[in-house]
């Protein structure tokens, strides 16, 4: 069940032009024009949005070390609904009213159809996580994104300034300036200021310090 303190607004908007929701040297999230957006509210205050449209996520989950680069770039098409929490002021400027065609274009019969799916996503996100709402969704606490993946689970991206955590079913990538932890099914890489520690699935440990 969705947490009591969260509500989805009954008013759905759409994005008037392409917006970059997040951008650093490591990654970028963009959404295209006409992406549907419904506000998520907490204590009658908008804390974030559920989006559905077209967009993309690029993330360089790569650690450049003295022993060579480890990791890969992640490219994800954002064609499914996803959640963004934080930085709502920026979004508000780019929203306008929707019409029936905006919903049919995205495969919904009407506005209600979109809200129902948005609620399902929020149930999945808030229902399985013990987020401290007041602490996490303060405007100074960065951004949180939740993207459904093929395994019907959520990929989570948490960012604040140069700090970043990206977690999928396969990988966990943590980056804080020149410190990086990358956990993939085959190995775990810890890199700090170019120094490197790799532990692979056979417990083979390589220290590049």
């Amino acid at each position: 069940m969705m947490r009591k303190d969260y509500q989805l607004s009954s008013t759905v908007s759409k994005v008037i032009e392409e917006i970059t929701l997040w951008q650093t040297e490591r990654g970028i999230i963009e959404i295209s024009q006409n992406t549907l957006a419904v506000p998520i509210t907490l204590d009658d205050e908008v804390k974030g949005y559920v989006f559905h449209g077209h967009g993309r996520l690029l993330l360089d989950a790569i650690a450049e070390t003295e022993k060579g680069a480890v990791g890969k770039s992640i490219e994800k098409e954002l064609d499914e609904l996803f959640i963004m929490l934080g930085d709502k002021e920026k979004i508000e400027e780019y929203l306008t009213a929707t019409d029936e065609e905006d919903f049919t274009r995205m495969g919904y019969e009407d506005e209600k159809g979109f809200i129902t799916r948005a609620e399902d996503l929020c149930d999945q996100f808030f229902g399985t996580r013990r987020w401290d709402s007041h602490q996490f969704f303060h405007k100074d606490h960065g951004l949180i994104f939740a993207f459904p993946n093929r395994a019907k689970r959520l990929d989570i991206l948490v960012t604040k300034g140069s700090k970043l955590i990206y977690k999928t079913t396969d990988i966990v990538f943590v980056s804080n300036e020149n410190k990086i932890v990358l956990k993939s099914p085959s190995e775990t890489v810890v890199s700090s200021k170019g120094k490197l520690l790799v532990i692979n699935k056979n417990d083979f440990l390589r220290c590049g310090c």
Binding site: E25, R26, G27, I28, L58, L59, D60, I62, E64, T65, K67, G68, A69, V70, G71, K72, S73, I74, E75, L196, V198, N200, N202, D203, F204, L205, R206, C207, G208, C209
Partner: protein, 183 residues
């Protein structure tokens, strides 16, 4: 009662007497000492020593099997067979990597990337005799072989850990062959 049994009884009585004496000592010293001290001879000490030596030998053996400290760092193997499995590489994969290395321009790209990630225009400046399109196709070959990775956001090309190793090994192998041929 046989003589042996009598002798055994005498010994037991002596031991009981000795134990009683020790117990008396302990009782007398109880007010002054916190622990209880009973002379158990050297047997227990020897036993503990044997056990600890066995444990130490076991640990040493396991460590010898699983840790290798070399000039390039520490390698820990949980099981040696895992390491052997890891070294098994298919011939087509070897051919792919060798093919990627088997071009002077690609080796020069790797050489440039050894000093750090570079944008394509930086590589173009360093390798001015190669056209941009050729440079891009070489980079694609290196990426497909896993020797180079490109950052999608910044666009820099980076040499990977396997790429660095492969490049160094190619240099060493060539140097080795040259020396052999000179002899």
């Amino acid at each position: 009662m046989s003589e042996d049994l009598k002798e055994e009884m005498t010994k037991l009585k002596e031991e009981i007497a000795s134990l009683k004496e020790q117990l008396r000592d302990v009782t007398e010293k109880e007010g002054r000492r916190r622990g209880i001290y009973i002379d158990v001879g050297n047997r227990v000490h020897d036993y503990i020593k044997d056990v600890m030596e066995g444990v130490a030998e076991g640990i040493h053996g396991e460590l010898e099997k699983s840790i290798f400290i070399g000039p390039r760092g520490v390698r820990i193997f949980k099981k040696r067979e895992h390491h052997r499995e890891e070294e098994e590489v298919s011939l087509p994969k070897i051919a792919e990597v060798m093919s990627a290395l088997g071009h002077e321009h690609r080796l020069r790209i790797l050489d440039e990337l050894m000093s750090g990630g570079k944008y394509i225009n930086e590589l173009q400046e360093k390798l001015s005799e190669i056209t941009t399109s050729t440079l891009s196709s070489h980079l694609k070959v290196l990426e497909e072989a896993g020797l180079v990775v490109q950052e999608k956001v910044r666009g820099r090309h980076l040499i990977t850990m396997p790429g660095r190793t492969a490049y160094k090994m190619a240099r060493r192998a060539t140097r080795f062959l040259e020396k052999r041929n000179q002899k």
